[in-house]
């Protein structure tokens, strides 16, 4: 073997065992690559199984639409042939009655009715009641069903039925952006009084933006002070930034409830100082103001720390040089110092924005009605309305937004440069 290789590449350097060195090197490199990958593998598998895969599965619910497809198979099969004009033929009605009887026997009719109800409010009870009567119905089923409830003689319910019969659906995503299918399967705006999510997404962005800006405005001077003070003092002041960072989120939210509520510390103080009268105490909680104040406080360290680490690397001599060359302090700051802090501003702002877009606990506790963000609605659909498909769609949109920002963050900051504490 080695002789053949020798013949092909006369100048190949050989390793001790006679194989060409290049080949040996490649083999070693491959082995080292495998070792490196092998070290990462356990965590990779762990994160995939316990975290990433569950999220994929949940997001799948946003397009998955099995209920009608699985529980009303005969009707779905017949409706596939239906052209969507007028009402279907007798065969569809007969299939529906058979499916309803079957679904009632399997106790799945409730789920079918609930699924239909998400698309057409109010049909839940009439589907269950029709299903109850279905067993005793005699052909022609068309007349029997319409007699049981006139809605079966209308085209709308059949169009909805046909659409929901598909295994996969975009309805949840449409609902998440306040759109829906009309009776002709065109995508239209949701009725005015049912439009909420676009507003909520807008509000989430607005609150996050406000929190980010406030953090920047408050964080920049502090970071500057910390970066320019002698280490002896800055270490001490740093504790004031790090303690909130290490304190439980719930503790900090509780503190804000204590401070902001109508009988809270701030209002008591203002009344005592006669700044406001006892009867018109400030409403600082259970609204957007409360959410923004508490979130700004909670996220401020995430702004200060990256700013600080960037400012720390800027040599003070640059400012001194600008000043000695005749720039006034403001000009020197704007032209020389500030541009060098841009990476810190980018890193801090993106981090704060990413974290605030997904906030749930603080808005839920101090947000009241007007301070709720998109996460609160996801939680609502997960726990209260049990509309998991819609929760998944809202979550999917939120996740896409966060991932885009995260990608930007890794491009700007680099994952390696992410620092903690």
């Amino acid at each position: 073997m080695s002789e053949q290789v020798m013949a092909a590449t006369p100048h190949a350097v050989l390793a001790a065992d006679g194989t060409p060195l290049k080949q040996r090197l490649q083999k070693t490199l491959r082995r080292r690559k495998l070792i490196a990958a092998g070290l990462v593998l356990p965590l990779g598998v762990f994160v995939f199984v316990t975290f990433l895969f569950p999220i994929f599965l949940m997001l799948f619910r946003s397009v998955d639409n099995p209920i009608i497809h699985e529980n009303m198979p005969q009707t779905v099969a017949i409706l596939e042939q239906w052209d969507g004009k007028g009402v279907p033929e007798e065969a569809a009605y007969a299939a529906l009655v058979r499916d309803m009887v079957e679904a009632r026997k399997n106790k799945t009719i409730g789920r079918v009715a609930t699924r239909m109800n998400f698309e057409m409010s109010g049909v839940r009870s009439l589907i269950t009641s029709s299903a109850r009567k279905a067993k005793k119905m005699q052909p022609p089923f068309k007349d029997a069903l319409i007699k049981a409830n006139p809605i079966w003689g209308e085209r709308d319910i059949w169009v909805t039925f046909k659409r929901l019969g598909n295994e996969y659906t975009a309805t949840q995503y449409l609902a998440a952006v306040d759109m829906r299918y009309d009776s002709d399967n065109n995508i239209v705006q949701q009725d005015e009084d049912r439009q909420i999510y676009v507003t909520i997404f807008g509000r989430t962005l607005w609150i996050s933006l406000a929190v980010t800006l406030l953090c920047l405005v408050l964080g920049y001077p502090v970071a500057y002070l910390l970066a320019t003070l002698p280490a002896k003092y800055s270490n001490l002041l740093m504790i004031m930034v790090l303690l909130p960072f290490w304190t439980s989120l719930l503790v900090r939210t509780t503190s804000w409830i204590v401070l902001l509520q109508t009988n809270g510390v701030i209002n008591e103080l203002l009344v005592w100082l006669h700044v406001v009268a006892d009867e018109d105490r400030l409403q600082m909680m259970y609204n957007q103001t409360g959410t923004v104040i508490a979130m700004t406080h909670i996220l401020l360290p995430f702004m200060i720390l990256p700013l600080f680490s960037v400012m720390k690397t800027i040599p003070p001599s640059y400012m001194r040089a600008a000043l000695s060359l005749g720039a006034n302090p403001v000009r020197a700051f704007v032209k020389v110092y500030a541009p060098q802090t841009v990476p810190g501003i980018g890193a801090g702002s993106l981090l704060v924005f990413i974290l605030s877009v997904g906030y749930y606990i603080t808005p839920a506790l101090v947000g009241g009605r007007t301070g709720q963000m998109i996460s609160n609605f996801i939680a609502f659909h997960m726990q209260k309305s049990l509309n998991w498909g819609l929760a998944a769609a809202l979550g999917g949109l939120l996740l896409v937004g966060v991932m885009v920002l995260y990608w930007a963050y890794t491009k700007i900051v680099g994952v390696d440069n992410m620092k903690l504490g």
């Binding site: 290490w246 503790v251 509780t254 979550g395 994952v415 620092k419 903690l420």
Partner: protein
């Protein structure tokens, strides 16, 4: 700091800047400290009573702390929190350190992409993580179990370990390992004798982060924990939503004390580390 030649404008700015910074720092720290005196309130109020302001000793009491100690639910959730955080930290630290070792090797393929994925539990909004875990863990029978909570919290804690350990490994001289191997050490022996002492500060601060992440975590706990697995934050959440009593403030004060202890540990580690580096 202020040069002797500074004019009146500069002097004014210098002091007003410090006042502004002091106010911002006050904004950061005051809300946390305000709960501490209030937790000793003798009255069931969330505000300072007149007696407290005049430092009348009768206005202060330990009743809310006695409440915690006498309340089985709080004790139970404290136990749960510690158990879950302890095992989650061990898992996160072990897996995270191994991965960081791999990621810091120059031969690691697709480094950026993999790192991005491994950090994602820190970035993905908790409500999405919680919802996803709820469905999957229920499906495989891990919802409302301690094991499920440990696994979920370990997953949320790993990014912190990966980040801190990778940070200590940048600038790590790989030839030290080669030297150890050359001198006859097996890879395992070299790891424990050479690598481990060097990355220890990163491992400790990473594991503290993982611990506090689990210890403070409430969103995933809302989805995954049943009554039996209630943790302190879960219990606090219920307390704040249902009937907010100063007991919550007493719990909050205890948690603030724990944070101070953790922060002090980290600070000591950092100083030790700096000192060691200074000598080398």
């Amino acid at each position: 700091m202020l040069p002797s030649y500074a004019g009146p404008l500069e002097t004014t700015w210098y002091y007003s800047f410090r006042v502004i910074c002091a106010l911002i720092l006050l904004f950061l720290i005051a809300p946390i400290l305000v709960v501490i005196p209030l937790s000793f309130n003798a009255e069931p109020y969330f505000s300072f009573t007149e007696g407290m302001l005049t430092l009348n000793p009768d206005a202060f009491s330990m009743r809310w702390y006695e409440d915690i100690i006498n309340n089985k639910q709080w004790i139970h959730s404290a136990k749960n929190s510690v158990i879950i955080a302890f095992f989650a930290t061990i898992m996160a630290t072990t897996l995270g350190t191994l991965a960081a070792l791999g990621l810091s090797r120059p031969e690691m393929p697709y480094r950026g992409a993999i790192m991005g994925l491994l950090i994602s539990p820190m970035i993905v909004p908790l409500i999405i993580s919680g919802a996803g875990m709820y469905f999957f863990y229920s499906h495989v029978g891990l919802a409302q179990t301690m094991i499920g909570m440990v696994l979920a919290h370990a997953a949320l804690g790993t990014p912190f370990v990966v980040i801190t350990v990778t940070a200590t490994l940048t600038g790590f001289d790989q030839s030290l390992i080669r030297a150890a191997n050359n001198l006859g050490a097996t890879p395992t022996y070299a790891f424990f004798k050479v690598t481990m002492p060097l990355i220890m500060p990163g491992m400790i601060s990473g594991s503290l982060f993982a611990f506090i992440t689990s210890f403070d975590e409430v969103v995933v706990a809302l989805f995954l924990s049943g009554f039996e697995q209630r943790t302190i934050p879960r219990q606090m959440w219920a307390g704040i939503r249902e009937q907010i009593s100063p007991t919550i403030l007493a719990v909050a004060t205890i948690l603030v004390m724990i944070s101070i202890a953790l922060l002090a540990t980290l600070e000591l580690l950092r100083r030790r580390n700096e000192r060691l580096r200074g000598i080398v």
